[in-house]
C-alpha cells in the first residue's frame, strides 16, 4: 500500500532536518562545548515535535469539512505558540547560560526549521497528486 501524503512529506523532511540538526550540534559542540551540544539537542527536539504535530493535524483533518479543518488548525497554532512560550520561559528562568547556550539554540532551531520546510517542499513537489479538474460545461 502506498504511504499517505503526510507520511511522504514527513519522510522527505526528517532526513534533511536531522542532518542539519546534527551538523549544527557538532559545530556548536566544537565552538561552545557541552552547552552548545545540549542547545542543539533541545532545538532539534522542539522543531521536530512542532512539525510532527502539524503533520498529525493534517492527517486527522484529511476528510473533514474546511471549517472543522480551520478549527483544528487554529487550535494547533494557538497551542504551539503557548507551549513554545512556556518552554522558552522555563529555559530562561531554570537553565543557566553555562548549561544551555542561547545563541546556539536559536541558530540551530532556525536552521532545522528551514531544512524541514525545504525537505517538505521538495517531497511535495515529488508527489504526483491527482487534482480534481472542474467539470466541462456542455
Amino acid at each position: 500500500m502506498a504511504d499517505s501524503v503526510e507520511i511522504n512529506l514527513g519522510k522527505g523532511a526528517v532526513y534533511p532536518a536531522l542532518v542539519v540538526g546534527v551538523i549544527g550540534s557538532v559545530i556548536a559542540l566544537l565552538i561552545k562545548g557541552k552547552s552548545g551540544l545540549i542547545a542543539g539537542g533541545f532545538a532539534l527536539l522542539i522543531v521536530f515535535i512542532f512539525f510532527i504535530i502539524h503533520l498529525i493535524i493534517s492527517k486527522i483533518s484529511n476528510n473533514l469539512d474546511p471549517i472543522a479543518v480551520m478549527g483544528l488548525a487554529l487550535f494547533s497554532y494557538f497551542s504551539k505558540v503557548l507551549i513554545l512560550g512556556v518552554f522558552l520561559l522555563v529555559i530562561v528562568n531554570k537553565i543557566s547560560i553555562e548549561n544551555l547556550d542561547r545563541p546556539s539554540f536559536g541558530a540551530i532551531a532556525i536552521a532545522v526549521t528551514v531544512a524541514w520546510l525545504g525537505g517538505e517542499v521538495r517531497a511535495f513537489l515529488k508527489l504526483k497528486l491527482h487534482m480534481p479538474l472542474p467539470k466541462k460545461k456542455n
Binding site: L64, D65, P66, I67, A68, M70, G71, L72, L74, F75, F78, S79, L82, V86
Partner: protein, 66 residues
C-alpha cells in the same frame, strides 16, 4: 470568506481566547492565594483542552456525523 465561514472563524477564535483567559486567570488567582507558581500552567492546559472540546462539539463532531 462567506458569512458562515467568517462567523465560524470568530467563534473558534473566541473559544480559544475565552478558554485561555478564564482558566489562566483562575490559575493565577490560585497561585496568588496559595503562593505557588504552577497553577497558571495547569489553568492553561485546562483552557486549551476545554476550548478544543468546544470546537470539537460545535464543528468537528457535527461534521463527522454528516
Amino acid at each position: 470568506m462567506s458569512t458562515s465561514e467568517e462567523s465560524a472563524f470568530w467563534t473558534i477564535l473566541s473559544y480559544l481566547i475565552a478558554g485561555l483567559l478564564l482558566w489562566c486567570g483562575i490559575g493565577l488567582l490560585v497561585d496568588h492565594f496559595l503562593k505557588t507558581n504552577f497553577f497558571v500552567l495547569i489553568g492553561m492546559a485546562i483552557g486549551l483542552a476545554s476550548s478544543l472540546y468546544l470546537i470539537w462539539v460545535r464543528f468537528i463532531r457535527i461534521d463527522s456525523n454528516k
